[in-house]
Amino acid sequence: MKIHNRLIMTFGATLLLVSCGQQNQSSNGALASSAAEKVYVAPGEQDEYYAFLSGGYSGNLTVYGLPSGRMFKEIPVFSQFPTSGYGYSEETKPMLNTSHGFVPWDDAHHPDISQTNGELDGRWIFINGNNTPRIARINLSTFETEEIIEVPNSAGNHSSSFITENTEYVVAGTRFSVPIPQRDMPINEYKSNFKGSLSFISVDPEHGHMDLKFQLLMPGFNYDLSHPGRGKSHGWFFFTTYNTEEAHTLQEVNASQNDKDFIAAVNWKKIEEYVNNGGGTKMPANYAHNLYDEGSHTATTTMKKEVLTVDPLKVPGAVYFLPTPKSPHGCDVDPSGQYIIGNGKLSADLTVHSFDKMIAAIEGEKFDGEAYGIPILKFEDVLAGQVKSGGLGPLHTEFDGKGNAYTTFFISSEVVKWKLGTWEVIDRKPTYYSVGHLMIPGGNSRKPFGKYVVAMNKITKDRYLPTGPEMEHSAQIYDISGDKMELIYDFPTHGEPHYAAGIPAEILAPKSQKIYRLDENKHPFAVKTPTDSKVVRDGNQVHIYMSTIRSHFTPDNIEGIKVGDKVYFHITNHEQDFDVPHGFAMIGQNTSELLIMPGQTKTSVWEPKKVGVWPFYCTDFCSALHQEMQGYVRVSPANSNVELKWSLGE
């Protein structure tokens, strides 16, 4: 009851804040607009939507519920995650392999859920690693990262990882232009020598497996964000650019000189056809493709040695530039596919281009010059309208499916709701503070679920109890079901969310997997019954085939290990019961623990350095006898003759 009261008080405070800006909203009674009621998901009840927030520099993806703002899980993607052993276990280390070797971290930015016919289908979610360019695919029935492909010839993989409306491609554009292929050259020769690559990675419709189909080598601009065409504009992809000045130093100033940069419109269907007919140039490359197999619970790395590059000038009609004011950031396409929105981050206005007008201008060949041979369309010819919002620093726009758009304004810290077609501003609400991206579930698809918008902020300051100089970033949830937006909740996130993707719970929840089937476990070191448990020595490598069930390890006494050995604990969790993981940790191990799900096998390496009898134990409170779930390994001197033996209950 106390907690309940406290909740009401907290929500009450929010309500007060909200109601200040709501005085002219007389149609709703005081009770109907209670923010507390709107976000309160009672104990035992579940949220309406899943929200996947990127972790930014955490390298991971976090899963929240809407409207409660409760965090359900952190899915390790690009970063080692000691909680589960991801990136530490022998099975998952290959996931983080790159052409630069093992890279245990990345900057995860823009998640996007797979689509069929432009609607969310909830099979996979993709996310980009910004720093060492990579794209990951996460299975949305296991909520585990299944695949990571490195993107060659890219640097700062930022205009990624957005998918086409039937998940034909996941698209990854470079932020930094670089020499392609990489070579030793003076930095100040950037101009006209560096290139920007836009990569189209095909997605196998059945397994989701990714393959870098072709790479478009564009002029050396910075490709900031992108989105697919949909509906009538399906087959096109749109990328915002900045630094069309091609500055290589002090970009803060030097890349902000042009009055207009571009949105690059790429007709990928045309390029796909060109490539399918043998077009393009194969270029030697070296990039990692890491694939996790659910059956063997093991990831493998394949180094790919070639990439198919496409010179845009060789495919007439494939690429056009749409002039767009002031270093646009977000590049967003409305649910109908008609409007392409450039969020000119250094201006006050939003520029909206019309797809129909763009096609007409292309057909009329009304060009306003060219850039490196790529035709530039006339700004006035493609312009659908401008949103004079009065805000500052528009960054990103999403849609509610009811003819409205919602744009974040970083500098003026607000979300602005405006109407597609009339460009009139309907409402504006402050954010706390300096909002980056926002998310409406399905807001980047043909069918948005326009009930909530989540604004993800860059600055937290005084929103929560202070926690020293470093704080988590804040996010706010607004109810957008009415004419006016209503701030209903404020919650801290994890890492730095740069973007998010949301989906109705009813699509994902029913297919969320509960266990892995032990009888389908194909791990080469799995043990299917405890009687198969064994310890095998191979030179100085020792393989321990171990099983776990509440509440013991089999075997739990092991002798004959020697200093200098490399000991592999291959642990199979024999539980077939929902939510009964077992953990494993060995004293002095130079790695993380393991968390092994029912039916799964994971492997941990230990290189004992000291003679003695050393314990291991289960790290997950698995049962009433969890504390008893422990064992010993006897470590003898390197030259000893202690016989290898193992047992349980002897």
């Binding site: 266990i515 069930i549 509440r550 539980e575 077939q576 019961d577 929902f578 049962s623 009433a624 006898l625």
Partner: protein
Amino acid sequence: MKKASIVMIVGPLFLLGLYIFPLWNIMLGAPQYPDPLGLNIHISGLKGVNEFDIQNIDGLNHYIGMHTLPKPEEMWEFGTFPLIIGIMVGIGVLIGILGYLNKVSYKWFWGWFLLMSVLGILGMYDFNEWLIDYGTNLDPNAIMKLTNPDGSPMTYKPPLLGHVKMLNFDVTSLPSIGGYLMFVGMMLTLFAGFLGWKSSKQ
């Protein structure tokens, strides 16, 4: 008598449902099992309501020293019950046909009902004996040896019918589809006898 005999032929056929559907069902729910574990008792063996329920019930019960649930080959009943049901269905249908041909009287219908009732009661008695053994014949080295307030060792016999709170589990034992079908079938034979008796009065 013809109508009565047709009902008598149909009634025993309902028992064939026992070959497909469980006779009885025991559900075990607990706070940490919001989706309860469940045991379906078929005449030919025990099955989990969900695929891994038996394994999970055994896993939990080992803490309190209960034996694992028997496999079909570990109990003679699971070999014998299907035979008895088969024979009884055969006899019942035969009686019905003979009644239709006016070879036997309605009293045979009641006779079949009586015999089936006796067998059913014996079956329930046997089932209860097993429940007692299952719930009380505990491993002396059990991890948890619990006692009642009076100091006697706690036992874990699931109820034959109804609900019992056992440690953290709510155990509910009820007839299942096969059991209900059997009940309907037997009532039909009783009704067939009644119809026969009525037509003999005319």
